[in-house]
Subunit: 359 residues, 2 copies
């Protein structure tokens, strides 16, 4: 049986879920609702949803309801839809903290299943315009059921969510919130605090154009949203702050007392741990070989690169402009499937008078 | 008069400087030295240097000597070359902290000019294999002269350094070290401490594949190098740690006592400051318009995209594979020079049956 899905809130996450579902065999029909009519129109055009209506109308026929509004609106949505839900229907959300939402979901009518959800994927951009059917590809998607959730219901939601390309991880809501305090909320706080500290130092921002700007990217996120996130997970964030303050104080002590070995152990351990975190793949194929090439800045050069390699049967599976100077040229990274093809690509480019080497 | 340059240490920075200088009208000849003979061979092949020799031989004819070894080797290099330097020669380095190096440079013979240098550019990769002639394009390159440095000597070194595409910023060594403690060393410490903290929490690393992995990228840097950097700037790093611990403690107090407004002010301020940091450009042209396109995963698709647009006179100036699924397709961002060309690109792609829209 193919499922009918309702999506409430058609921003980056809601829109991307819709685009992924509309390409799924498991999904028959996608209803969508958003308080902004332009957003709804755009979602229809982008085929993220098939039809729309009032909040009540879009949920009444749905097997699965995805609440994709900001966290603070979830509280208002649940009572508005409760009376219109089909028996056996599954209601889930996508917000970044789960304990609060689980309390709200527990107020759903008997026979309706509330399961928390948190797709660990995002983008600097937001809104339906940034929606992408591959947003969740290889991302972790956490589901937080309750004690009474029937296994087959959890399995059905998991199967649907996996249609987006995400990998489902089932967790307890409390454990989820403790983990995201460390891996998401604390990094945000550190970036924010660092930026505010640097702002007090004259000339510092001038030097900050490169690495610092990149490492503090998350400090540019929506403050309203983050106020909500931090306060919805206040206790666990506070515990995380205690822990990081302790780490930093110990390190300061080691620096002040010239304990080089202790500092080195921290650096070694961090590198080892960080290198062990699996990389989320976004290339067309899991493994590929990089070729670096220095090309002149002239119209059509990227098409030409593709053409030269393509005419020899070599497929470019990844491409990145690393650096460039206007009117001069640039350094481009090309990913090709195998080492053998990389070697051939290098010699094909050399024949065209283009500098190239394997990375 | 064209300059003769010697580069000691042919890693990422030394190699990239050589590649940039070898394309400069200002430079006549580049001598290179590295303790690793394979590296020297590779540098010659990549045209990062023109000739090589012993440490003493490569500096004796040079107008400018760039010491590009790790910080802790600078101490050994300076006395080894001192007796062989030409009168009027400029000796500079590229290390990340400057006060220590300035003391070493002050021991150079009379008539030789020591000026500290710090190019604020880098890469995750290191070694001559990662060298790139555009590495410094639009990056800030700090020079730290001394009180006695003649203005024309500083101007000559600045002009040479600007040949790499970098923007020179002259600073006092003490001020430089204070600023980099905040914008470079502290971010490194925070990433390291965060990773070590998360490693203690079960299941946390599993969820860390996405954003957390990206935000802690610098924790994977070379521990040996970073031990040196942190201890060479120990006092200023310690002061920075004091300041950030204070920031975090205040925030924790605000969270614990439900001061939403105070937390919101911090978030607002961080976003405002971070957005004001100028972006370092790396595209072929300063401004361009993005087109987003969803393409099928088939051989040669990137070349085809370039070909379709190229045959209509539209030049792709930036390209990025945003996300993809093997055997299915992917989302690609294309940068084209103007909005008008973006509109035309969208309709050309539509004619080919390819989904596309302006970002």
């Amino acid at each position: 049986m193919r499922a009918r899905v309702a999506i409430i809130g058609l921003g980056l996450i809601g829109g991307s879920l819709g685009m992924a579902f509309s390409n799924s065999e498991q999904v028959e029909l996608i209803y969508g609702f958003d308080s902004d009519s332009e957003t709804v129109q755009r979602a229809l055009e982008m085929e993220a949803i098939h039809c729309t209506g009032t909040l009540e109308a879009v949920v009444q026929d749905a097997d699965f309801v995805f609440i994709c509004t900001p966290l603070k609106s979830v509280k208002g949505v649940i009572p508005s839809i409760a009376a219109y839900l089909k028996p056996g229907c599954v209601v889930t959300d996508v917000s970044s903290t789960k304990e609060q939402v689980m309390r709200l979901l527990s107020e759903l009518p008997v026979g309706v299943h509330g399961i928390g959800g948190h797709p660990m994927a995002g983008s600097e951009k937001h809104g339906i315009g940034a929606a992408d059917r591959y947003l969740f590809e290889n991302a972790v998607y956490v589901l937080t059921p309750v004690v009474g959730t029937p296994l087959e219901v959890l399995a059905a939601l998991s199967a649907l969510v996996e249609e987006t390309g995400a990998r489902v991880k089932v967790m307890d809501a409390e454990q989820h919130d403790r983990v995201v305090a460390l891996i998401s909320h604390l990094p945000h706080i550190l970036a924010m605090s660092l930026v505010n500290l640097v702002a007090q130092e004259e000339d510092a921002l001038l030097l900050a154009a490169g690495g610092f700007r990149d490492t503090t990217r998350i400090a540019s996120s929506n403050p309203e949203l983050w106020e909500d996130i931090l306060f919805s997970n206040r206790e666990k964030v506070s515990q995380g702050l205690d822990a990081i303050i302790q780490e930093l104080s110990q390190l300061k002590e080691e620096l002040d007392t010239l304990q080089r070995k202790a500092v080195r152990l921290r650096l070694d351990s961090a590198r080892q741990v960080r290198d062990s975190i699996p990389q989320r793949r976004k290339g067309l194929i899991p493994e590929f070989q990089d070729v670096i090439t220095v090309v002149p800045d002239r119209p059509g050069i990227i098409g030409q690169l593709g053409g030269w390699l393509g005419s020899h049967g070599i497929n470019i599976v990844d491409i990145e402009i690393l650096r460039a100077r206007e009117g001069d040229g640039g350094t481009i990274r090309l990913g090709v499937p195998t080492k053998q093809e990389a070697l051939r690509a290098v010699s094909i480019l050399h024949e065209q008078g283009i500098k190239a080497w394997m990375s």
